[in-house]
Amino acid sequence: MTAPGAVPPDRRTRFGRWRDQMIAYGWLVLAWNLFWGEFTWGNLLGGLLIAAVVLLFFPLPPVTFHGRLRLWGVLAFGSRFVVELVRASAHVARIAVQPGFTPRSAIIAVRLRVPTDLNLALTAEALSLVPGTLIVEVDRDAGILYVHVLDVRGPAALAASREQIRDLEQRIVAAVGSDDELRLVRTGTVAKEPP
């Protein structure tokens, strides 16, 4: 793999677009074969055909992946995610069956430090599955997530939720973000424009 800085910008973006398409193509063919439950030449051919049709007629907006996968980051995020999903489920299940209890809630705005499409989408998806939080609205231009918090008990709980979302973002960036993004998140500054 060559360093990203070594290639001229226009060639890099065209190559990046092509690479993204090929990755999506590969995943679609794999999914098609898994749907049929076996890998045969017929399924492979069918998958190649169907995936080409899907990519041609339902093109996705380009979400280019600028970061890199960090094995430790992915493992740390994955294991913490499982723990939080179990905790969230237990929490919601408990207050669901608690007699005579009406949970109070709040909607808070959280500005992400890395306002890329990929980070917004991943953080929004993940925080809907961890304790107390659910995404309501996304301000894509400003990089702000509007989050519904269930079972709020006082202002301290809101501050804790905010902190929790920022930790979640940091874990996601540590798993898939670029070095610049990781530095940005670690130093804890809210940058209007990433360098």
Binding site: A31, L34, F35, G37, E38, L85, V86, A88, S89, H91, V92, A93, I95, A96, V97, T102, P103, R104, S105, A106, I107, I108, A109, A124, E125, S128, L129, P131, L134, I135, V136, E137, D139, Y146, H148, L150, V152, P155, L158
Partner: protein
């Protein structure tokens, strides 16, 4: 005790746990006061319930073809449930179907 028996027992436990969580999710959807709170019940215990059911099914079936399908269902469940909940929650908020007496703060209203 053979490995198959262990897998069968693990499968049975997972199936029961998943079913109980799905039941709790259903009770939550029924009992929570407004749409946004209900969506919490429709995502977290619901997703974990389905994942546990899939795990249980995987432990019982134990064939590569079925496991591939189970993994696919799990991935799609994780990817789509939050999106669906967000779409419903956003629609409910924009239509004003939010009980403001139960909200401690609403920073979306200030926008």
């Amino acid at each position: 005790m053979t490995l198959g028996t262990v897998a069968d027992w693990l499968g049975a436990v997972s199936l029961i746990a998943g079913a109980l969580l799905s039941l709790a999710a259903a009770i939550g959807v029924l009992r929570f006061p407004d749409t946004l709170s209900r969506m919490h019940a429709a995502t977290k215990p619901q997703v974990l319930g389905v994942l546990l059911l899939l795990l249980g099914v995987g432990f019982r079936l134990r064939s590569p073809a079925d496991l591939g399908m189970v993994v696919l269902i799990g991935i799609f469940q994780l990817a789509t449930a939050p999106v669906a909940a967000q779409m419903i929650g956003r629609a409910a908020y924009r239509a004003g179907r939010v009980d403001r007496r139960l909200l401690d703060a609403d920073e979306l209203a200030d926008r």
